[in-house]
């Protein structure tokens, strides 16, 4: 199986909420009329993905996946900052 352990109700609720958040931010990414909307949607997506990485570390019963989440959230910050600086320069 892809997921080893049997999931209980709380895990199913976590999966449902994460999926709903991912789908809603994907919707904002598609609909977003302006570029800042899309960048904010990508930022929201990265935060949700970090949460799902931590949840997967719980499901797989292994703490090494927390390292990936740590590194990921730090670097996503830098990427979003770079994109935001680009827009800020464009508006000058």
């Amino acid at each position: 199986m892809i997921f080893p352990n049997e999931l209980n109700l709380a895990d199913l609720v976590v999966i449902g909420l994460l999926s709903a958040g991912l789908l809603l931010s994907l919707l904002r990414f598609w609909l977003g009329p302006s570029t800042p909307d899309r960048i904010i949607a990508v930022d929201t997506l990265s935060v949700l993905i970090t949460a799902s990485m931590v949840a997967m570390s719980l499901w797989f019963d292994n703490q090494i996946y927390l390292d990936v989440a740590l590194v990921y959230v730090v670097l996503a910050f830098i990427g979003v900052i770079a994109l935001a600086r680009l827009i800020e320069r464009g508006n000058q």
């Binding site: 590194v71 900052i81 600086r85």
Partner: protein, 229 residues
Amino acid sequence: MYQFASFVFLLGFLFLISVITGFLPLGEPPMLVGQVIQNNAASETGASNFVTSVVLGYRGIDTLGELSILFAAATAGSLVLSGLKQKSIESGDAGFLVKSASELFFPLLIVVGLYIVLHGHLTPGGGFQGGVILAAAFFLPLLAKPSKSINSLALGLIEGLSGAAFIIIGLIALFNEGAFLKPFFENGELGSLISSGTLPLLYIAVGLKVGAELASLLNLLNQEEVNDS
């Protein structure tokens, strides 16, 4: 006509890959080499991360080739852009939030990068990932204040010394143990920080080299040419 031909090619490509993957079962790889590595890697190299022992132990000379490709890409990039007269971007600094966040994040990023490099044989990560984080750490102040620039001489010095250290460790292994890049210190206890021979030393060299290289590449791309034409 060109677009029609491209669509036909794409359809054929889709069909080809679908047929190829249709015969591949998911989850049952043959594992001819992988099984041997899984049985022997923990006792041979002493690293608990088997990807690290494949990257630096069993395929160490491939990693040397990868480093040379990265070096060639950085050199060719600076060669291509060297004909243009360069100057630093004279746009304004970032706002208060980005400036304070970059000053706050700088030590944090250094610590995370060094942790990832040093624990490359125990946890996921290693020289490449940690090197990228170090390069991003040194580039973050430039993102806040674009008028500054990194000392490229020091970056070149770090890159050259760490690249030489990688090859020197490999040559010492060649003369002492009889194989290039063979790990030659004691394996130590599985799972402790000082273990698995020379693999952490090699990963530190890789991390410093990749970090310096990528920082100089970002520094190069951050400048802009003088409009004199």
